[in-house]
């Protein structure tokens, strides 16, 4: 017996040593919670660290390029921190597992790409109708179907909004830098907890794989939101109790509260209903908790728009091309600016309307056959959309600043 004890100890020590050796610089940096330094970090790494810092303690997923690093890092890190990592048999099971974990009180997240995102749509609808907090990260690649796994595309913008059947609103965030991958992952988890819904974080392949010099904020400056817990005794608890601004407390299974969860239209207690009034009430509730909180949900970046005659509207990695184009155009004396949504759903209607009042032309560069452009056209006042011009590319390559500059010169 003493012998075997010794062996265990040695093995443990050896394992510890190997782990220590494998610790990446970026990770070491994360573990220091304050006075964080500049490090080289990948977009997918930043998502993983954002998840950990926001308190994510459950990941279920099916690794897929170009999101694999997120699963890889969380597989190593979650168990160390008392969390759970499960590699599921597919993406349908993954979304179901994170929804279930969340109902039991976990902060749950999964990461995927186009093919997996398609499979998850039904589960996303279930999380929305049952008002269960969870986050789906979709690192987009070229589609349809398995497409080009290692090349960028922005083809899932509308799928992120309308992918599930039924008519539920969506919260979708879209970063354009490695630092923002970290920040918006935290925000996605926070919003899912606050609004009790499935929040989607869209990334581009380039951003997921790209490394940049970043300095993460110190932990004391990171704001973490946790779901509101019920204060009433269990027998008074309503799972969908209408509170202020349609945000209601959420009990977890195992805490003594009884509630029913179903994908069917339900009443305040969670039981299925076919009554028109109750059905309408539920749908209104799903709609209003988003539409009454637009100011809290919508984030935009206005980049040199003040005196611009031509505006670019771009999200994610295409906004990086657009920022470079703005800098070159400005150096040549052309007044160009950029409006960039960090929240693409709900769509930033107000900011776009304001922009449309001041500029003559809007150019919408995107890595698809035209998705965001229709939202801009929807908001043009006189319904003449000749001043809203698309710049689209679907060959797996990024839109270059020169592509945008050529378009700018065409419309000048």
């Amino acid at each position: 017996m003493p012998n075997s004890k010794k062996t265990t100890k040695t093995t443990k020590a050896a394992a510890k040593e190997t782990k220590a050796q494998q610790t990446d610089t970026a990770l070491k940096e994360l573990e220091s919670k304050s006075k964080r330094k500049n490090v080289l970090m990948q977009g997918n790494e930043a998502v993983s660290y954002g998840a950990l810092d926001a308190g994510c303690n459950f990941f279920a997923g099916y690794p897929i390029t170009p999101s694999t690093e997120i699963a890889e890092i969380l597989a190593a890190e979650l168990p160390k921190r008392g969390g759970v990592f499960i590699q599921m048999e597919d993406e349908i099971a993954s979304i179901c597992a994170i929804t279930g974990a969340s109902l039991a009180g976990a902060k749950a997240l999964t990461a995927t790409s186009g093919p997996g995102f398609s499979l998850m749509q039904e589960g996303i609808g279930f999380a929305k109708i049952t008002e269960t907090p969870c986050v789906v990260v979709n690192v987009q690649r070229v589609g349809p179907s398995t497409g080009m796994p290692t090349s960028p595309a922005q083809g899932d913008i509308m799928q992120a909004r309308w992918g599930s059947h039924g008519d539920a609103p969506a919260i979708v965030l879209y970063p354009d830098s490695v630092k923002e991958c970290y920040e918006l992952t935290i925000r996605a988890i926070n919003l899912s907890e606050k609004y009790r819904t499935c929040v989607i974080l869209l990334l581009d392949e380039v951003l997921g794989h790209m490394r940049e010099s970043v300095r993460l904020p110190d932990m004391e400056n990171v704001r973490v939101i946790n779901r509101i817990k019920p204060t009433v005794p269990p027998h008074w608890y309503k799972h969908y109790d209408e509170n202020q601004k349609y945000l209601s407390p959420l009990a977890s299974y195992g805490e003594g509260y009884r509630f029913h969860v179903t994908g069917l239209t339900h009443d305040a207690l969670g039981f299925p209903t076919n009554k028109a009034t109750e059905g309408a009430e539920m749908m209104e509730r799903l709609r209003k908790k988003i539409s009454y909180n637009i100011r809290d949900l919508v984030q935009i970046e206005s980049h040199q728009l003040e005196d611009a005659k031509i505006a670019l509207f771009a999200a994610g990695i295409s906004a990086r091309s657009a920022k470079a184009a703005v800098a070159i155009a400005r150096s040549e004396g052309v007044k160009v600016g950029l409006l960039r949504p960090l929240t693409i759903w709900p769509f930033p209607d107000e900011a776009v309307r304001k922009m449309l009042q001041h500029v003559e032309t809007v150019i919408v560069p995107e890595l698809n056959q035209g998705q965001l452009i229709h939202e801009i056209k929807r908001l043009t006042k006189d319904k003449s959309d000749s001043n809203v011009i698309g710049l689209q590319r679907v060959n797996g390559k990024m839109i270059t600043p020169n592509d945008i500059l050529r378009k700018i010169k065409e419309v000048m």
Partner: protein
């Protein structure tokens, strides 16, 4: 310092993305801004592969190298594909083990059989990337050599640090003796 754009190109398995990460991390240690992107096929070996590193003291918007200040080409295919995107005053470094034809001679062209040298001096082609990286950094001086060594130590697995430091130093030496 405006954007300094570097493309490391060749085929999958030659360690170009790792070299790109080491170079980028060295720039971070030097307190510079950096982006590192890559392009590769779904296969883990073979197929074309490239890593881009942009180093600057200003915010870098577009993260892909477009007009290279420096191009490293380890295969003929990569050389043919990217040569014409080299800036006029740019530095071209080619591995003559695989690059047999230069369609255009850049003013600053450096030709060495890096793969052959790696096999001959360090016993394996596996160090080709770091020899070439050391060679490049001594020439273009875009990051400090101390930071490059530190970055290398932080990035590669402990068991391979010594071998890679040797490779880096060999790269420095080759640069000093080039053309002599």
């Amino acid at each position: 310092m405006k954007n300094y754009e570097i493309r490391l190109s060749g085929s999958g398995g030659q360690g170009l993305i790792l070299a790109g990460i080491i170079l980028a991390r060295a720039a971070v240690i030097d307190n510079l801004r950096v982006t590192q992107t890559q392009s590769y096929g779904p296969e883990s070996r073979g197929g074309s592969s490239r890593a881009d590193v942009i180093i600057s003291d200003q915010e870098i918007y577009f993260p892909e190298a477009q007009a290279f200040n420096c191009l490293l080409a380890l295969t003929q295919e990569a050389c043919d594909k990217y040569l014409f995107d080299l800036r006029e005053q740019g530095t071209l470094i080619v591995d003559t083990t695989y690059v047999k034809n230069l369609a255009m001679a850049a003013e600053k062209t450096y030709e060495l059989p890096f793969t052959e040298i790696a096999i001959e001096k360090l016993g394996s082609a596996i160090t080709t990337n770091i020899i070439a990286l050391g060679f490049m950094v001594r020439l273009i001086k875009v990051v400090s050599e101390e930071s490059l060594a530190q970055s290398l130590r932080e990035t590669v697995k402990p068991a391979f640090i010594d071998l890679n430091i040797k490779a880096m130093n060999l790269g420095f030496e080759l640069a000093d003796n080039y053309g002599k």
